[in-house]
């Protein structure tokens, strides 16, 4: 599925749909903007237990192609670092954003 | 507009009687409102139902306090509840009883009709021996005493409207129509 950026600009009430819709869809609004620490998976340590996938409060951890190992979707990862906390083998480390 | 009040006991089919009447009059293109005394119904407790009948649209929507006629489905109600309250002089009192009209001792200003609907209901095995359902017999008698609807229309409404024993209910209504005794 493609996730092309949709720009929605409202100037007046007449541009609005009847209810609040698309004003804040995840499709459009990538929620990663507030992340300041970036979790990174060390695949040499990772044992593929998928605990991080289970605990991630956003749907930000997925199985990547083609090796089906866990990967982080940085469009949506909000940097809560629950995955870092929960990983049983400390396979996820962090780096500061913007460095 | 004619206003009628029905008196019976919970379980005798008093409300269904007024509904059958509503169905029959509707078939003839007339106007009717049929409604129960609104409350919590209990088996054996005195209940009332009402009907307004007219050739044109009916506007008043409240209980009937001054009926033109009353119909008593259960003779044991006589003396137990104020049946004649508000009944207009010259109105009919139709009673399910084995007695003749003159034996009931109602005031002279009213006309009285009687029919042994219990006997008829038992004959056609409507309800049980302990609590026969007399409503169809009573509306049959009603159609004779207060001729607001053709017997044939009423019988069709009964046959198509009752949940069980349509033929028997039809026959009961017809027999009551033919056997009602009217005085006044």
């Amino acid at each position: 599925m493609g996730k092309e950026e949709k720009k929605i600009i409202f100037k007046s009430v007449n541009d609005l749909p009847p209810m609040a819709m698309s004003l804040g869809t995840m499709w459009v609004n990538k929620t990663a903007s507030w992340r300041n620490l970036r979790p990174i998976i060390d695949y040499d340590k990772c044992i593929d237990c998928m605990i991080c996938w289970k605990y991630c409060p956003e749907p930000a951890i997925y199985l990547r192609d083609p090796d089906e190992r866990v990967a982080i979707d940085y469009d949506y990862c909000k940097g809560c670092l629950i995955c870092v906390e929960e990983c049983p083998v400390d396979a996820i480390y962090t780096e500061e954003e913007g460095k | 507009m004619i206003e009628i009040r029905f008196h019976g006991r919970g379980g005798q089919g008093t409300v269904v009687a007024s509904k059958i009447l509503a169905d029959a009059l509707t078939r003839e293109g007339k106007f009717i409102q049929a409604f129960p005394e609104f409350g919590v119904e209990r088996r054996g407790a005195p209940v009332a139902a009402f009907a307004r009948i007219s050739d044109t649209k009916i506007w008043p929507r409240h209980k009937i306090y001054e009926p033109d006629h009353i119909v008593i489905l259960d003779p044991t109600l006589i003396g137990a509840v104020p049946l004649l309250d508000g009944l207009k002089p010259g109105g009919w009192i139709l009673v399910n009883t084995t007695k003749k009209p003159s034996q009931l001792g109602f005031p002279k200003e009213f006309k009285v009709a009687t029919v042994d609907a219990t006997h008829i209901a038992l004959k056609y095995r409507l309800g049980s021996a302990a609590s026969p359902i007399v409503n169809t017999a009573m509306v049959g008698a009603f159609a004779r005493v207060i001729p607001v609807v053709k017997l044939e229309t009423l019988l069709d409404a009964i046959e198509e409207g009752v949940p069980i024993k349509p033929k028997e209910n039809r026959a009961a209504a017809e027999e009551a129509y033919n056997s009602v005794i009217m005085e006044g």
Binding site: M19, A20, T25 | A22, F38
Partner: protein
């Protein structure tokens, strides 16, 4: 067309059947139960091809029809009194989500003390949920109003409540013309809404909205109500062309030369019409204004009709404790900006199903005849 004697509850069921509703979710409550019984029978025997969702409360019933409507289905429910109160939160949701759900509400007084009898406080206390509200005075109007409600609701994307009195309509059998399905189909096209849940075009609905835009969305709801004012009368005329019966926002009767006009809703208005005829026979210049649509409130119509009267009586079978009659406050509001407007006499009566008789209504006119200055609240029949 078939003419049948049916109770008001079944008139609601037939209205839903003929509107070809696709999803019904409801929870039984006296005096509404028959509505749901007949609809579930219709679904079971295939007369009505709809999904019947059994739920464990009215809150869930409204949530289920909301979901159904949001996914593009024509949805229906019915309730009464405490059940309606339990739906309250979701009623707001349905309006905010702009879903054209139609429901029946049988007016029943709130407990405690427990009551199963009629008064309008249950539906009127949902006044500010943004639902349109139609008050019927006979069983034919109940059936017809369901069809009309879908027609208008689906154009303006607002929900509608069709309201009827407990027992005086809900349990009263009377002749009702059941329109032919083909004619209803001609009048009411299938439900279409471009703002529905659609996996091929995903959107978030009703998400957090900043102060910057929330007010605009509320403004749009109000504008939709204003649009509905026009549409209700327009569709009423379309309906009349097909079925021969007209329903508008209000139902004035003998008001043209009336000195005193009584304002009422529901079956009390039906009785009042009879009372007006009796008083006219005695030479009294009296008239009746039945409010049929309470939301959107027909301020313009009310002003037009009442401005010319010398006195206005409002009969409220409801109570907003601490304020008084709910219809009366709307009527006073409508007249406030009219120069030299007539005095308003606000009567509270018939609460908890106490009978409102023809005689009672004639008494209102007789009492007001002797009064000069309007009264904010007059209690009729309270044993003081």
């Amino acid at each position: 067309m078939k003419r049948m004697a049916i109770v008001g509850n079944h008139a609601l069921s037939y209205g839903a059947l003929l509107s070809r509703v696709q999803v019904i979710a409801a929870y039984p409550i006296t005096p509404q139960t028959q509505v749901v019984e007949l609809l579930s029978e219709m679904c079971a025997d295939g007369t009505l091809k709809a999904e019947f969702v059994k739920v464990e409360s009215e809150h869930s019933a409204m949530a289920a029809v909301m979901g159904a409507s949001a996914s593009g289905a024509r949805a229906f429910t019915a309730t009464s009194s405490q059940g309606l109160a339990l739906m309250h939160e979701v009623l707001h949701w349905v309006t905010g989500a702009r879903l054209p759900v139609v429901m029946g509400n049988i007016n029943r007084a709130f407990g405690p003390p427990w009551s199963i009898w009629t008064e309008q406080t249950d539906s009127l206390s949902q006044r500010d949920t943004g639902w349109m509200q139609i008050y019927a005075q006979d069983n034919q109007e109940v059936l017809d109003s369901v069809i009309l409600a879908y027609k208008v609701s689906e154009q303006v994307l607002l929900p509608t409540m069709v309201v009827l009195d407990a027992f005086f309509l809900s349990h009263t059998s009377e002749p009702v013309e059941i329109p032919d399905q083909e004619m209803v189909d001609e009048f009411l096209p299938p439900y279409e809404n471009k703002y529905i849940l659609n996996p091929d075009d995903p959107h978030a609905f009703g998400g957090l909205t900043n102060p910057e835009w929330y007010m605009e969305l509320r403004y749009k709801i109000h504008k939709a109500h204003e649009e509905a004012l026009q549409l209700i009368e327009k569709e009423g005329r379309e309906f009349e062309k097909l079925f021969g019966r007209y329903y508008g926002l209000v139902d004035p009767y003998r008001v043209d030369d009336a000195d005193t006009i009584l304002v009422a809703v529901s079956t009390a208005a039906s009785t009042a019409r009879y009372a007006v005829d009796l008083l006219r026979e005695r030479g009294k210049k009296v008239g009746l204004l039945r409010i049929r649509v309470f939301r959107p409130f027909p301020y313009e119509r009310v002003k037009e009709i009442l401005s010319g009267a010398k006195k206005v009586i409002v009969l409220d079978r409801n109570l907003s404790p601490g304020a008084g009659g709910i219809i009366a406050s709307e009527v006073r509001g409508a007249l406030a900006n009219v120069k030299n407007h007539p005095p308003v006499f606000s009567y509270i009566m018939g609460l908890g199903g106490r009978d409102i008789t023809t005689k009672n209504i004639m008494e209102l006119f007789e009492e007001v005849e002797k009064m000069e200055e309007g009264k904010d609240i007059i209690w009729k029949g309270v044993k003081i």
